[in-house]
């Protein structure tokens, strides 16, 4: 097997759009394939790497800036790095993309109403009651990616379906080895070889 090529899978989307859930599912798959994986998650890094930061625009930018730095180091050392952050601003994501290089943007597309319904962490309720300021989608804008490598629709795909979409795209983008099989049945493969032989191509 060729040496693992590092990349950063950057999950962006509203709170409750399924970023962490998908990152964990993809992490499991990548580990099964024997890849080195690290997962950087908003909730985790805010307890360590960026615990001194709040949620003002400036602090949110700083949060992403530090995470980007770490992701860059991991990526250039051949690690599959999974980042899940709301990262609502296009410009900030563009900076991370430029900094990291092998950057694959995954847009977790999910209507705000669905995220509010889910409200896994009870944050929307608080935000809607005015208890949290600058809450993305409620009192702060979310700028959807214009040109993401991957779009998953978490309101109408299962976790397995979205995970499969992400893994297939990673293969197409050259970050994962293609899995063998299912392209041709044995019979089909023989027929294809015969065709090539008839044309003098093999």
């Amino acid at each position: 097997m060729a040496e693992q090529k590092g990349f950063t899978l950057w999950f962006t989307g509203l709170s409750g759009s399924g970023k962490t859930t998908l990152a964990k599912a993809v992490e499991r798959e990548l580990r099964q394939r024997g890849l080195k994986v690290e997962r950087l998650d908003g909730d985790i890094v805010r307890q360590s790497l960026t615990r001194d930061l709040g949620f003002s625009k400036e602090d949110r930018d700083k949060n992403i800036e530090r995470v980007t730095f770490v992701a860059k180091l991991l990526t250039r050392n051949g690690v599959a790095t999974l980042c899940s952050f709301i990262s609502p601003y296009r410009e900030v994501r563009a900076r991370s993309r430029a900094e990291i290089g092998n950057f694959v943007e995954v847009y977790c597309d999910c209507p705000l109403e669905t995220c509010i319904e889910r409200d896994v962490k009870g944050l929307y309720k608080k935000a809607l009651n005015g208890e949290i300021e600058n809450f993305t989608g409620v009192s702060d804008p979310y700028e959807p990616p214009e040109n993401p490598e991957i779009v998953v629709h978490t309101d109408r795909e299962t976790v397995e379906e979205s995970t499969a979409i992400i893994l297939r795209r990673l293969t197409e983008l050259g970050y994962l080895e293609a899995e063998a099989g299912e392209v041709y049945s044995e019979e089909e493969e023989t027929a294809v070889e015969e065709r090539l032989r008839a044309l003098g191509y093999i």
């Binding site: 297939r168 197409e172 049945s185 065709r195 090539l196 008839a198 044309l199 093999i202």
Partner: protein, 453 residues
């Protein structure tokens, strides 16, 4: 088409690419002079028509992969119609799964463009696009060839044919023509269906039938055979009519491109590189031979072997399971020895002229993360000598009458309507960034090709 989409279609830049596999620039010039392509003749002056290079080796799988990715093979991973499974002597047929790069239509899809892609080599199994993709000639069935799967019904209704049957075509020239004509009609029918009934920003139709026609009847055309040359030209007339049909449907916001991936010439000899390697003692074949020798039958004492077309691999220690040649000085010395011997010894059995124009070391042709999968030496033949990887052939050369045409490197063609081409010398790899430019979509930074306009 709805009123809204008509309005949209009028304002946005669109591109349609017609790929005429293997159609040489010099041949089209001649056909124009002979008045055999009246439609293309009236289109010609509206754009730039230029000769274009293919890639090495100049086979459709590699050339179209370079086209659709805008990259050299060490970035997309497709080096031929057949390849080794890494770390084994097993061979495999590379498909779209092995292509380690984004394609033109995937980048366009990502930018929100709607694409229709039909029959381009190495697009099976179909990868997801924003639109419709019909896999190329190595698709096993219509059901498996299409994305989204629902399109299979449409194709069946249109009596779509994936490819002419080459074994039938080998039986007689009449059968070859019947196969080519049937496939061509189905292609045109399907293309026009999608042009007229679907919304699209980018549409690519690949005509494989030209390549098939040339493989089986090029010589008959070139020698003006009294029976088959006229029938060859009938197919060309059909293709010219297809170009006219497409052209007449387009508005001023749509750029039409007609291109090929390599040229063609009359085949003088098939040349069996493994026969030569065996004669020189570099390849050791087993005493007892199965009916069809494969790479897996190569004897463990072999130092080198070849796969189609003209790709020579060193049996390298640490890479091949029974590697014999040490990396470093020993490897380099053997490469040098084989390269100079190939130039010196591989000669036309009648005239004695060299059959090899150039021997490339892989790093001279390719650059990128997948370089280690490339052949160690790539032989570029003189036109007319078709380098084959078949094992266990009793002679160095062979002259048959079934396959009578072969590919050439420097005679592909490119026509772009309404544009002039600013670059002197260019290759199929340069077309993809040019299409992105025409459609106003940024060219990714790792693309090798240049915008030609």
């Amino acid at each position: 088409m709805s009123l809204f989409s008509r309005f949209r279609a009028k304002r946005k830049p669109r591109v349609v690419v017609i790929g005429l596999d293997g159609t040489p620039y010099t041949f089209v010039r001649r056909a124009l002079e002979l008045g055999r392509m009246p439609n293309f003749a009236r289109m010609l002056g509206e754009g730039a028509f230029r000769r274009m290079n293919s890639v090495h080796p100049c086979v459709s799988s590699v050339a179209w992969s370079c086209y659709m990715t805008g990259k050299n093979p060490a970035k997309h991973g497709i080096y031929g119609f057949i390849d080794r499974k890494p770390g084994t002597y097993d061979t495999t047929i590379p498909t779209s799964r092995a292509m380690r790069s984004e394609t033109l239509w995937e980048i366009l899809s990502r930018a929100g463009k709607r694409v229709i892609v039909m029959n381009v080599p190495v697009t099976y199994p179909p990868r997801q696009v924003n639109g419709v993709l019909i896999g190329g000639f190595l698709s096993p069935t219509i059901e498996k060839a299409v994305y989204p799967p629902g399109e299979a019904e449409t194709l069946k209704r249109l009596k779509y044919i994936i490819d002419a049957d080459p074994w039938a075509a080998r039986q007689s020239k009449d059968k070859a023509l019947a196969e080519v004509n049937a496939a061509l009609e189905s292609r045109e029918r399907t293309l026009l269906h999608y042009m007229d009934n679907e919304e699209w920003d980018f549409l690519q139709c690949h005509v494989m039938e030209t390549d098939r026609l040339y493989h089986f009847l090029w010589k008959q055309m070139a020698t003006d055979d009294s029976v088959y040359a006229p029938r060859f030209w009938q197919v060309i007339a059909q293709i010219d009519a297809l170009l006219g049909e497409v052209y007449d449907r387009l508005d001023e916001n749509t750029t039409m491109i007609v291109m090929s991936d390599h040229g063609f010439c009359t085949l003088k000899y098939e040349v069996y590189i493994n026969h030569w390697l065996a004669r020189r003692g570099w390849l050791v074949l087993p005493e007892e031979r199965p009916q069809r020798l494969q790479l897996a039958d190569v004897g463990p004492r072999s130092l080198a072997y070849s796969l189609d077309p003209g790709r020579i691999f060193i049996n390298l220690r640490g890479r091949e399971p029974a590697g014999q040649v040490a990396p470093g000085a020993e490897y380099e010395a053997l490469r040098d020895e084989i390269a100079s011997a190939a130039m010196e010894e591989l000669r036309d059995p009648e005239t004695g002229v060299p059959m090899i124009a150039h021997v490339f070391r892989r790093e001279e042709l390719y650059h990128g993360p997948l370089l280690d999968q490339a052949a160690d030496l790539i032989l570029a033949p003189v036109d007319g000598y078709d380098l084959k990887g078949a094992m266990g052939k009793e002679t160095l050369t062979f002259q048959g009458d079934e396959l009578v045409g072969m590919h050439t490197y420097d005679d592909a063609m490119l026509w772009i309507r309404g544009q002039s081409i600013a670059v002197e010398s260019f290759s199929v790899t340069d077309v993809m960034p040019t299409v992105l430019h025409l459609m106003g979509v940024p060219v990714p930074g790792d693309v090798d090709g240049r915008v030609l306009l």
